[in-house]
Assembly symmetry: C2
């Protein structure tokens, strides 16, 4: 139910007679909707319990295994990847068609049952799990059919529940790849990626999902099916409504099918790993790479010394690929290229490396170019395992900021000072790594466990500093519940108001992923 | 067309007693808005004449030359580029700031004055000019300041009125370019490009504007300023509302400022021109180019024999760059590459050309690689001048379809047959050219003049065939007024309804570019 703490409570008694003339449904649908859209109203959590409707859900899904209610079955769906957010006693629904999603959402809208869409549940801002009990988790895992692929245009159309890695493997047979790649690829779903507008490892080269998602079929919160799939590379017929669902984190409706522009899998893929003495050097290396590797540059990632040490500590069979080992607080840079001619690419890389080793600016201390697929994988997993190593070490505070590249690491150093000053003496430490080529810093604080003291030390300070440095509080993970209070740091009130109005259009009953983003 | 709350009041007598209880503003803002959003209400063209408000406009703009009313001054703004659409007695307003745009739109909303935003007025679907008299043309030409450029991230922020070529020239000094390029670059504005979601010559390489426009400042139809400029490459904080304005053709509001991701200007730019015996061969050349030129391919354009002949006829000083001249209904392909190493690129191109000349599939008859900037320009202008040559020849019917690449030219041949069958004997002919690499065909019919007979011969037939072939009736030019009746060929009714609802949110008074798109 939508509610008006300030305006409506004061209005209602005095205007009782007036409202008596307006039929109930009109009141709910029209009057309140109008107000909600102007952002004047706040939601009260008066949802009806999903448990009271299990029978109806079973009727609507009509298939075995589509409705999960047993504790053991629903457990993996109820907690988020970080183990930090979640509700209990939820009902998990697994529709296998757009029609089922539509009838479920229509019913949940009518009955006011809260619905949380869920893909692979690898999101890092608590968006994919209910915050309360007795809600519906709508899992897309059965909407996982690949419908068509056109190897001339590169357009693939598939269900939103297809696992990212599966889609990539499918495309590999045709000499194509998904433009997006990220550490969680074995679990996350393409629909979840689109709903978080995931960035990942190769955004630098292949751009954001707004450029590559050509269309989608979605079901709005009130159950309307909007089929905006699109097999054409270019289609300028009316508003690009599907873009509203890219990064909406399940708050407007459910993405059921998608049309994506795959990218060609090029013959030559090279990986280089460098050690530099300072972040300033890393910035110079980035500048040189953008200039000299130009069109073949496909990823530029960085790790600080502590990030690398952590990976080597928690994955003892991983190999450190350089000869230098001076324990000198180095910074490490992973550069990947993708091109169509191996000879040309190696030539570019060798010239690049030679210059970078000699230059006074880049000051590269040591570097290696991987010689085989195994070596390439070994280098990549040093970078991709930072998140996992941090998870093994204890409690983690994960931040995902966009910052002006040159100043990015200042923030890590500031936090380092703050921690040192607190004399915690329990191994609490800060690490910095991330998609440096896109100006995206993953700042993580690792501690034996998360504590109120640490939380207060870090927040809202980190968000404020990011805002003040002209950055974004969420480069790629989204807002979810974790950053809800800081949305205003990057979006003006007038913009948030229009977001609410849009939400009112798509999800008039306010059932979609309540408590997230807005 | 939309009814307005005000206009609807006239319908109310029967419900007077009920509605009398509802205060006026609540009625207008809440009740009717609810209806409008569900697409139940239609607009009546009861706009007030812009001429009655010239005094107020002068007050609001407060600067000399901001309000044009003299026939000679307003003439160039009132007719579209094709000379096909337009109104008379319009008032041209030239605000120079967001605040001015906002106060104008707020005022026009209150007074119900129709407003047509206009950039460079090069649009090809009649979207940039009023369809009626006495409307406001809001020219963005004074909102043309470049505000900032960050040479590390490549993000440029500027007014929407900056001319595309000027922006490109500005960026060239920093070694960057606008990812978009098109024949009208000397006149069209970046805000107009974004409003039409223009594709152009290098979409194949640099992707659509949805990928490269990182943010925008817009003023909605009711005058609200939404500042969504964004200097960060990645910023996942809330819905990507600015995407709604990409391709909205001025129907939701006015784009005042933009943040765009510029792309690096690479050292080596090569242009190749090939003659092939058939469209089938051209398709094979495309396949080979995508495979072998991979990451350096930056444009793949085609012209049929008649298109080329037209250019050489109307621009007699242009040179035909090949030795073969067999007048054999050839097809011509322009391939451009951009890369960071000239040696590598030439090497790739030579290998490509050699193979293409020998292959049984591609059957290239003749080909040349330009050796200098002048030669490159000379080849490019053969392709870019087709539109201009057609304009010089007489009446033109311009179509801009997305089609499955392999079948694209079938449609040209069908039209050719239709024309032949009609025994017109007046030089009426059809030509095909366009952005073949993106599946984008420009099918144009040239005749001494446009006639009802020809119009009926071509429409709705061409739109229907495009739909039936699974294509898009507008690859890049947009809907405007020209294709309004065919929007439904690519957008389901449920989607069009949500477009209307969105329009109701952004432009509740329905003043923005009436009669266009929806
Ligand atoms: C090891 C690891 C590495 C990661 N690396 C990156 C990285 O490099 N870049 C990056 O951007 N992110 C990264 N992430 C986080 C990233 O957001 C997720 O991995 C991924 O995009 C989420 O997909 P998912 O299917 O798991 O979605 P979920 O976690 O299930 O859901 C995410 C959000 O989307 C909504 N949602 C899911 N599916 C749908 C749907 N079909 N329709 C509507 N809403 C839906 C949910 O409600 C939720 O709000 C990483 C996470 C992990 C664990
Ligand atoms: C010779 C020639 C070649 C062309 N080549 C191509 C091509 O290769 N690819 C392609 O896609 N198109 C091409 N076009 C058409 C193309 O749409 C336009 O050239 C260009 O994108 C429009 O920009 P403009 O500034 O002239 O906009 P206008 O024509 O002034 O306006 C176009 C639309 O956008 C709206 N609009 C303009 N500015 C704003 C604003 N600031 N805020 C809100 N709405 C606004 C208008 O109301 C109108 O609906 C070509 C046109 C010509 C004449």
């Amino acid at each position: 139910m939508w509610w008006t703490p300030q305006a409506l409570t004061s209005l209602l008694p005095t205007h009782k007679k007036l409202f008596a003339y307006i039929p109930n449904s009109m009141f709910a649908n029209v009057f309140l909707r109008g107000w909600c859209q102007r952002g004047m109203v706040r939601r009260m959590t008066t949802y009806s319990s999903a448990w009271e409707h299990v029978g109806r859900f079973e009727e609507l899904l009509g298939n075995k295994g589509g409705v999960l209610t047993e504790e053991d079955d629903i457990q993996p769906f109820c907690k988020d990847w970080m183990g930090q957010y979640g509700g209990n006693k939820n009902v998990v629904l697994k529709p296998n068609s757009t029609e089922q999603v539509s009838s479920l959402l229509r019913y949940c809208s009518e009955q006011k049952i809260a619905v949380v869409p869920q893909g692979g549940n690898t999101g890092l801002v608590g968006g994919s799990v209910p915050l309360h009990n007795h809600e519906v988790i709508l899992s897309l895992s059965r909407c996982n059919k690949i419908q068509s692929f056109d190897s001339t245009s590169g357009v693939v159309t598939c269900g939103s529940g297809v696992v990212l890695e599966d889609l990539d493997t499918y495309l590999a047979d045709y000499g194509y790849r998904v433009p997006l790649d990220l550490g969680a690829k074995g679990t996350c779903q393409i629909g979840g990626n689109i709903s978080t507008n995931a960035g990942g490892l190769r955004l630098l080269r292949y751009g954001s999902l707004h450029g590559t998602v050509l269309g989608a079929e979605v079901v709005t919160g009130d159950g309307r099916v909007l089929d905006m799939r699109n097999s054409m590379r270019k289609n300028n017929t009316g508003y690009g409504l599907h873009h509203m669902f890219i990064g909406a984190e399940g708050t407007l409706g459910v993405i059921t099918n998608i049309s994506l522009l795959a990218t060609r899998r090029l013959a030559s893929e090279q990986v280089m790993f460098l050690a530099v003495p300072s972040f300033v050097s890393a910035v110079s290396v980035l500048r040189q790479a953008k200039e000299e590797l130009g069109e073949i540059l496909s990823a530029f990632e960085f790790l600080d010394q502590k990030s690398l040490d952590l990976v080597l500590e928690f994955f003892p069979d991983y190999r450190y690929p350089l000869s230098i080992n001076d324990n000198n607080d180095n910074f490490y840079v992973l550069i990947e290229t993708q091109g169509s001619d191996e000879g040309h690419d190696i030539d570019k890389l060798m010239k690049f490396l030679e210059k970078a080793m000699e230059s006074e600016e880049t000051k590269v201390k040591d570097g290696t170019i991987a010689q085989s697929d195994v070596q390439r994988r070994d280098i990549w997993r040093l970078r991709e395992s930072v998140t996992l190593a941090l998870g093994k070490r204890g409690g983690v505070y994960k931040y995902d900021f966009s910052l002006p590249t040159a100043e990015m690491y200042d923030l890590v150093q500031e936090v380092d000072q703050k921690i040192k000053k607190s004399n915690l003496d329990d191994g609490t430490m800060v690490v910095g790594y991330g998609h440096m080529g896109d100006g995206n810093l993953h700042l993580n604080v690792s501690a034996p466990s998360r504590t109120p003291f640490l939380s207060d030390l870090l927040e809202p300070y980190l968000y404020q500093r990011t805002r003040d440095m002209g950055g974004s509080v969420s480069a790629e993970h989204g807002i979810g519940v974790m950053k809800k209070n800081y949305l205003g740091y990057n979006k003006e009130e007038s913009v948030v108001r229009v977001m609410r109005e849009l939400k009112g259009l798509m999800d008039p009953a306010g059932i979609m992923n309540p408590g997230k983003v807005l």
